[in-house]
Homo-oligomer: 409 residues x 2
């Protein structure tokens, strides 16, 4: 099930100068017939910045990728689905290193210039033999692909639709090309889902500002969906630029930087939204806006307290305006000095709660009508500051239980 | 669905000297035909201590009960199901006061000596008219009940089995009688479920030690299940003693106190366990033991991180030993200095994870066999201290979604 989400048209997804890639199958899950490996080659001048999960059981590829990023800008990404190489201890790290060494031979690269990314089942070792065989079959004579949708497909696990977005925009007179792909599976609990997001572009920008860009963008996109970018064992969000565009290097926070940032953010938000729309078992797409908070973090915490409540989510699924569950979720958010007696709640444009209690103008009929739609918006006014954040989430359906109960089988 | 839980036999549930009660129906939910009001009369010398939800959207009856407890020991409880009187603002408080005033007339009591308890739908006003009518019909000529199972039934919402436990024990040569009733509905998210627990006994004990007893008992019973006592809008746990037993007053932490505490804890643990076994949609009963933690709180946090993960719970439902999800849940628990590379995990007596990775002695067949059972135990060894806590929880099934999607209809 998806909520208003389609496979992108091939012609809309652009190749970015300086990046080449190919995909192939390694039967990482033995029964899999789809491609499960993507290799992305980056040009020599490219720069890469990434943010990773904060989960303490973080996966071997995360540890290795983090380490390699401290050395030099990477020249190659290897991304696999089907197996997370997490909970695999020292053996997992050795396996990831072994894959890098092997790839280094085919691409004549120092293995330390390769970043591994894995998602899939936890607590299983990678099938090294099958992976090496797939390298032999596909890398002895490399045929690059030009269809990024294939790459987006190959990194999917329980996703049902490949997620890719492209954009061209100008910095001054110079054209910039930007393409992002992402995958995200689980969606109900922000610290469980496994999410990968990659954005490739060609704009010239200093490493310092690229770091600033990644942080700014992820906080306002992937970190605002209920598949939270910062806590699974394998989550990663990566921006790489080939530096091949003709713009003069962006090295201060000027208009050009802002323009670039806004364009990249747009791509990231679009990808993040697609992850929610393809959320496991999703039948509804719900925006939760938390307004007039003291700070951004407070609005996020409250938005996620609502988005992650199973009782709220099952009410979404049933199109049941059992909106008291939302108040209870707000009351549970760890904001110690919250005054709930001033809070307003709107469902689309209709008022539900005024100053902490049911509004006299509340209409159950209108509420049911709004919630029967595939998409609706909740807006919570905290009346204590000026910040706003909008969390994107879905409902909790029978299908969610089914998908996750049957995932490994 | 329940997991190995039966209606208690009437003869096993004892009347406690000093407490009288009756139950009747007020059609608080219009369609309800079951009794939905319980009134408990406490003798003049009784003492009562209670702990309530920490939810900031806490309900009107919670605010009033807390207030009245600061004045004098209560003489009457009025407990209703069907409506939580939460998210009802000042009107909700006035309604609760009005009910107390009305009851005060029938029982010739100061309304401040009455404690109200409500659970049920949030954001709806109590049907005052129907409640007052029910008082007129049932309190003009009071017929007390002697069957506590009826009381346990009347406070149920989505519970399927009434929960009551009794015990007689001696303090020295003096016999003490103790009876508890409880209700608990949701179960998946500790800060959403609505739980009530009442324990009545006749032991003589000082108010100071009764306060100590409540805290000790709730922390080791209701606060260790995934229906957490401290965060819904209406949760309450209450111990009342009539002081009618013949023991000399317990006023220091001596052997007698310890003996009393252990007996009351046993009742409370039994009630809490019953709430889990009757958890919404439950098909499995799972114990999660977290051993060798630095402190009790740390083991609770980790146990609940596992118990509240939808991905873990759906794997329980599927009898699928996708045990990596447990590691991921541990890695997400907010314990900043946790060393995951030393952690062991057992499923019943079989080792799964040794030092943070899959044990060589792990047997998938044995794991599946264990998880196919209706009850099993996970044991996590943190190897960093000496404390242990055991969280009780269930799986997440289709039925859970169904119950919560259809709750109001």
């Amino acid at each position: 099930m998806t909520v208003n989400l389609k496979v992108p048209l091939k012609k809309t997804i652009l190749n970015v100068p300086g990046f080449r890639f190919l995909t192939f199958g390694a039967k990482i899950k033995l029964k899999n017939i789809k491609n499960d490996i993507v290799i992305v080659e980056l040009n020599k001048n490219s720069k890469t910045v990434a943010v990773f999960t904060k989960n303490k059981f973080c996966a071997a590829p995360v540890l290795l990728a983090k380490h390699n990023l401290t050395l030099n800008d990477p020249q190659l990404f290897v991304i696999n689905s089907g197996n997370a190489n997490a909970g695999t201890g020292q053996k997992g790290i050795e396996d990831a290193r072994e894959i890098n060494r092997e790839l280094g031979k085919y691409f004549s690269l120092d293995p330390n210039l390769i970043l591994p990314f894995s998602t899939g089942v936890i607590l299983q070792n990678l099938p090294l033999g099958r992976i090496k065989d797939s390298f032999k079959n596909n890398l002895a004579n490399i045929k690059y692909s030009s269809n990024w949708i294939d790459a987006a497909k190959s990194i999917m696990t329980t996703d049902t639709v490949p997620k890719a977005v492209s954009k061209k925009f100008n910095l001054g007179k110079n054209e910039i090309t930007c393409t992002g792909i992402a995958k995200g599976s689980g969606m109900i609990h922000p610290n469980m889902a496994t999410m990968l997001g990659f954005i490739f572009l060609d704009a010239k920008i200093s490493k310092t500002l690229l770091k600033d860009l990644v942080k700014y963008v992820v906080d306002r996109s992937f970190n605002l969906i209920s598949v939270d970018g910062d806590t699974s064992t394998n989550d990663a969000f990566v921006i790489s630029t080939s530096n091949l565009a003709q713009n003069s290097v962006i090295n201060k926070k000027d208009k050009m930087y802002t323009r670039l940032r806004n364009n990249v953010l747009e791509i990231a938000k679009d990808l993040a939204e697609k992850i929610v729309r393809d959320g496991e078992g999703a039948t509804k797409f719900v925006e939760i806006e938390v307004r007039n908070a003291k700070d951004l973090n407070e609005s996020k915490i409250i938005g996620k307290a609502i988005a992650n409540s199973p009782l709220v989510k099952t009410a979404f699924f049933a199109s049941d305006p059992n909106l008291g569950r939302i108040l209870s979720a707000i009351g549970n958010a760890p904001i110690s000095d919250l005054d709930v007696s001033v809070i307003d709640l709107h469902l689309n444009k209709n008022i539900v709660v005024k100053n902490g209690m049911l509004s006299k103008r509340y209409s159950e009929d209108k509420a049911i009508q709004a919630m029967k739609s595939k998409e609706f918006k909740l807006s919570i006014d905290l009346k204590r500051g000026k910040e706003v954040a909008t969390i994107l989430t879905t409902d909790l359906s029978y299908e969610y239980v089914k998908i996750n109960a049957e995932y490994r089988t």
